[in-house]
Symmetry: C2
Subunit: 414 residues, 2 copies
């Protein structure tokens, strides 16, 4: 696959995030009501407006969230993509018709792209699981006994999934220092980020029925960047025996663009080597992983520049989103349009490829040096964390846009 | 408080679940579209129809779920209760006007009473936590170190919260016998129930802001009976380190009636004795627990009668729903109308008061004898589990109706 050329010249930039090959979906507003859109070059294309005007057949795009469209299923997803290719391709006569529906990307507001039905966070990166396991439980018990047999996950909180650009208040909570007799309550002192990829479920499944990995793959509509903000001190005290709760419930930031599975097809890769064969219900029928370059940057308040603190790749995952989803339905759990599955932190083997400050600073023992000469163990008030991601094609890129958030001080008066 | 007498004679039965003191809310259908209702005596009163006909001011009741009504807040809740008292009280002249909106309870279908926004399951019963801790981790580590300091909870799955009467397929999953080298996949062999009370959140909270216990209490709309079906073999293998996932995700059954907080006011009780004082953010400003008699019964397929397997009381809880909710917001987690908080299993100190088969049979070691001479360790296909609950007033009862579900065989073909 090479660049699909458009009559919109900014869509043909080989380093630009939004060529015609991409066509990610999101929700924007520009004065009026929020509605569905795509990004092309440096423009937002108002798909809701086009549907209302009759330039797209009715498919749920004239709405403030992608859910109705996603619920229509793979045929409708493919139909929209083909229709947009026809309108946007170099040589198309639709330029005059489309131009009134275009708005400069930097002049619109981007909203949460879909109503998050439920949010599940997995733990599917092996380096991350080994690193965190070592830090929380010691190297003897780093990788839990079940980890190589199934994608471990827990239910997260969907009410606090927010779109890139939304500020996040430092959480408060109960913590206990290892040498203290009693816990105390106050602002988190070990505030962290986690670089993840999120899978967005388009097609639902039925309660009482599990789906295969192939069926699960077909249910996935697309992917977002995801920052699973984490309060490590709260987590360490609360997570035994029922898992993370308030340490993760205060905020999860996602990118405003859902990059469709269709756009990522050329970047599918085979699974990593398995130490132990998986049970048949988790076997991949084909390449289910993606070659997506990912990075995280940290910029303190007032700093001129952000420091890249992590560079990694989605291929570091041990379980694909399709495997996560198949496992999620194993018991008969019903999945719904708008469910969001976080991959878990995507860390590589090297320190510079670790997707969380917990790992990058090894539990706060080795502070990071920032480009403006400051250092960090965990996040301070005013810090901004930005995730980037893209798949590199032959002369084009599939970009996710950015997933950014800034830490505000805790609201300490109830 | 004594019985509030109604002109509807069946509402004055001192042993009946639905006197005028109760007025629980639910959703019914009788041929037409589902809409909100209350139960009074042996009748359902069609509140949606009354609102449409102008006998109630518009308050969101002509809808297939209680969410719109609950979102209107405590003043509206109180207004409806006062209006219904006026209509239903002995001596009221409204009998002729109301009768067309009444349907015999045994002739209608009851639906899930509200759209469950998110479901959180706590672990707030001390006997249960000690029993399960002993069985899963040994008596040395029975009560986790954090347990006496905060209500431990985990996010559950709202897509599989179902109304009483809905059958439940036996879940499948990954399990590993203690002496096995590798896990296997198949139907759950240790299927259990858990007797819980569920709190239904009426008023939302804002992301980034925590609420006090008093504010949390004001946000609660009412309570349901809740059976947190649990696959113990799947749970034992999956729950470390991120908590229960597929072992709980396949089904959670709730009673069709939400008993309002207002109806339960006379049954508030003070907290149990605390071994360790709670941090200020969890201190109760008044009586936050309820004296509610609870029981569970098991009836095998084809058996003439159900066997009562557990008798307990909601006073056995160590943390109230208001404390659970205040803790849930401690990090700034936003709560929404329709959030459901399970209490955790409510076990008393004696064997006959344990709220799960895991405890009742001590991990399957001591089978229960049923009234038809059969025995049970865990649930078999065809078994029906029914929860009952009521608060006993002076000459009246506040009943919850029943919370029942039957186990169907696993769907083993994917």
């Amino acid at each position: 696959m090479s660049l699909l050329r458009s009559w919109l010249e900014t869509a043909n930039d080989p380093d630009g995030p939004f060529p015609m090959n991409n066509l990610p979906l999101g929700v924007f507003s520009a004065g009026g009501a929020p509605r569905c859109c795509t990004a092309i070059g440096d423009q937002v294309l108002d798909l809701g407006g086009m549907e209302r005007a009759g330039y797209l057949r009715p498919m749920g795009l004239d709405a403030p969230a992608l859910n109705d469209f996603m619920a229509k299923g793979p045929e409708t997803w493919a139909n929209l993509r083909a229709t947009l290719f026809g309108y946007l391709a170099e040589g198309s006569s639709a330029a005059g018709m489309l131009t009134p529906f275009m708005h400069p990307l930097d002049a619109v507001r981007l909203h949460l792209p879909f109503r998050v039905a439920e949010y599940t966070d997995f733990y599917a990166g092996r380096h991350h699981a080994e690193n965190v396991g070592t830090l929380f439980r010691g190297s003897e018990n780093a990788l839990p006994p079940n980890w190589l047999h199934m994608p471990i996950g827990y239910n997260g909180r969907s009410s606090t999934v927010i779109v890139s650009g939304t500020d996040v208040h430092r959480p408060q909570g109960q913590t206990k220092a290892p040498d203290a007799d009693l816990p105390t309550f106050g602002p988190c002192q070990r505030l962290d980020m986690e670089l993840e990829l999120g899978a967005v479920i388009g097609s639902p499944s039925t309660m009482g029925t599990r789906v295969s990995v192939a069926e699960a793959d077909a249910m996935i509509f697309g992917y977002v960047l995801l920052n699973d903000w984490s309060a490590r001190d709260i987590q360490a005290w609360e997570y035994q025996p029922l898992g993370p709760f308030q340490s993760k419930a205060f905020a999860t930031t996602i990118s405003p663009w859902v990059v469709t599975k269709a756009a990522l097809e050329p970047f599918r890769r085979l699974a990593p080597q398995r130490d132990i064969p998986l049970l048949p219900y988790l076997e991949e029928p084909g390449p289910m992983f993606y070659d997506i370059t990912l990075s995280a940057a940290l910029q303190p308040e007032g700093a001129d520049a952000a420091t890249t603190i992590c560079q990694t790749n989605a291929r570091e995952l041990y379980y694909s989103a399709a495997q996560q989803l198949a496992h999620h339905t194993a018991s008969g759990c019903a999945m719904r349009t708008g469910d969001l599955l976080g991959s878990g932190t995507i860390s590589g083997a090297d320190t510079g490829s670790h997707g969380s400050l917990l790992e990058l600073t090894w539990g706060g023992e080795n502070p990071l040096t920032l480009e403006n000469d400051g250092t960090r163990t965990f996040l301070e008030d005013g810090d901004r964390v930005t995730l980037h991601g893209h798949a590199q094609g032959d002369g084009y890129r599939i970009g996710f846009g950015e997933c950014t958030g800034r830490i505000l001080p805790a609201r300490t008066t109830p």
